[in-house]
């Protein structure tokens, strides 16, 4: 018997988070995320990749069809069960990760654990320190987000998501606005936590990232998907991706989707 998917969409219609709940962004979505997967989801900007992640994180329900998180439908869960499920998924938003500017970096990272355990930052033990060390933010911990480079913000947000020790990490376009140094950090860091890092108890994390360019993410043991014209396409593994005849899939492999825009 195969293990139960962590996230499963069945003929689901994903709605827009920002423009109102009735606007469909992705239709007929059937997609499963299994434990240990590393998904890379491509698509042009504003096609609904963020909406897909917010729905997969349980922040909104699909307009139609079914979404199961850890085997349970969202509508079948009570508040406590929904919260427990939500804490098993870490969501990191695009373009700065939506940090709280009035808090220091350490307080930002510690906030969810302090809130859920009802404790002070000092009472979290070494957890916050370990996550800050893992993400290379220890020396910046006393600063506020406005005092550090914007390219580091999403890194702080991933530390904040990791402090709850999630099983699944959904990261929206981590390489957006990254310089080559930050991009290198992400491409080294994510595989290390996918395998299981000693600083976070060595447990592997299932990862889903979105991108507008497949090229930095080409590696074996990854699965690729595509959102295009309100449709989801499963492009398979690296070998399948390299043989795809999907026009946008090929454009994202060359990093030239702007040309496709003009052709459209």
């Amino acid at each position: 018997m195969s293990p139960q998917p962590l996230i499963r969409f069945l003929k689901a219609t994903v709605g827009a988070t920002e423009s109102g709940p009735d606007l469909a962004r992705i239709r007929e979505l059937t997609w499963s995320v299994e434990a240990g997967d590393f998904w890379v989801i491509g698509g042009r900007p504003r096609v609904g990749k963020t909406d897909l992640l917010t729905t997969a994180a349980g922040l909104q329900r699909p307009l139609e069809g079914e979404c199961r998180l850890f085997g349970s439908r969202l509508e079948d869960l009570n508040d406590a069960e929904r919260l427990a499920n939500r804490l098993r998924i870490g969501l990191v938003f695009e373009n700065g990760g939506r940090l709280f500017n009035e808090l220091t970096i350490e307080e930002n990272v510690a906030l969810p654990v302090c809130y859920h355990r009802d404790c002070l930052v000092e009472e979290t033990g070494t957890l916050v320190e370990r996550v800050l060390e893992l993400t290379g933010l220890t020396r910046l911990s006393e600063l506020r987000p406005a005092e550090v480079s914007h390219t580091l913000h999403q890194r702080i947000a991933v530390a904040r998501a990791l402090v709850l020790n999630p099983e699944v990490l959904l990261i929206d376009n981590p390489l957006f606005n990254s310089d080559s140094r930050q991009a290198g950090w992400w491409l080294e860091f994510l595989p290390s936590i996918a395998k299981g890092h000693p600083l976070i108890d060595g447990r592997g994390v299932t990862i889903v990232v979105t991108t507008t360019d497949f090229r930095p993410w080409l590696a074996i043991n990854r699965r690729f998907g595509l959102v295009h014209r309100q449709r989801w396409e499963d492009l398979g593994d690296l070998q399948n991706l390299q043989q795809t005849d999907h026009p946008l899939g090929r454009s994202l492999l060359t990093g030239c989707w702007n040309d496709l825009d003009q052709a459209d």
Partner: protein, 285 residues
């Protein structure tokens, strides 16, 4: 001709806030009333949610929530003190200045304390305080919450399993309600003292003990209870309306000025309605 028509619309053509034109004033008034009823219903639902969250999560995450409540009390209850002192002194001088001269002329100076209680304790004290808190803190609440909403910070809280009503609304409601109550007591005391100082400067034959006796004879136990209820109601309503407008409506940064204006108008109208209700209560008891 067309630009003239746009700049000077005919009296029969009014425009709704949503930009649609209503051809008749009665349609415009009707839409306005329906809009107000709809807003009242939505704010009421928001108030119920806040009440349920406050009751069910009163003891949850207190380590994180207590500093947030303290920050709101500092912001709404301590920082406005200098301005409120100025307003209290001015209010006492104005009311005393207008009434004492008139009372002296008709030989009714014995009523100075009574008038100060009726005007300042029952009416102007709470109203002036809540308007100051609204202008100084209420606007800030709408702007920061609607900006947070527009920047997606509210969604981020939900993603971290943090209830936005618990984390953002509850501390503001508690902080603003307690602040309006405390500041009103402070303003009333300052205004009553400055009112007496004015009579003293004007050489009106009124000793402090007589002034105190006049006030204590006109104050009833209901005054203290109703003052407490009224000021707490003002604080809760202002905090709820500003939080509601900040969180429930704005999804884009360009909406922030519009929702701020709506929150201020809504809060002023709600405070006047509450004030009118308490006038009726004073008349009945």
């Amino acid at each position: 001709m067309e630009s003239d028509a746009l700049l000077n619309p005919s009296p029969t053509q009014s425009q709704s806030p949503s930009g649609r034109c209503w051809t008749r004033p009665d349609q415009w008034v009707g839409r306005l009333i329906l809009g107000a009823l709809d807003s009242t219903k939505r704010v009421g639902a928001f108030a119920l949610i806040t009440l349920v969250v406050t009751l069910t999560r009163w003891n949850k995450s207190t380590v994180v929530l207590r500093p947030l409540v303290a920050r709101q009390i500092n912001r709404a209850g301590l920082l406005p003190l200098p301005m409120l002192t100025f307003l209290g002194v001015a209010l006492g001088l104005l009311v005393s200045g207008q009434t004492v001269a008139l009372l002296s002329r008709v030989g009714a100076v014995d009523y100075a304390g009574v008038i100060m209680v009726s005007v300042i304790v029952r009416e102007l004290g709470p109203l002036v305080t809540v308007l100051l808190v609204l202008a100084r803190v209420g606007t800030g609440i709408v702007i920061e919450l609607s900006t947070s909403r527009a920047l997606g910070e509210v969604e981020q809280l939900e993603a971290l399993g943090i209830d936005p009503v618990h984390y953002l609304v509850m501390p503001r409601v508690i902080g603003v309600a307690l602040s309006v109550f405390s500041l009103t007591v402070y303003l009333v005391l300052i205004a009553l003292i400055s009112g007496f100082l004015f009579t003293f400067i004007q050489d009106v034959p009124l000793t402090p003990s007589t002034y105190l006796a006049q006030m204590s004879s006109s104050l009833r136990w209901e005054d203290f209870i109703l003052l407490g209820l009224k000021t707490l109601s003002f604080g809760v309503v202002v905090a709820l309306i500003t939080c509601f407008q900040g969180l429930a409506n704005a999804v884009r940064l360009e909406d922030v000025p519009r929702v701020t204006t709506q929150a201020i108008i809504g809060s002023v109208v709600a405070c006047v309605v509450i004030d009118a209700f308490f006038i009726v209560v004073y008349l009945v008891i």
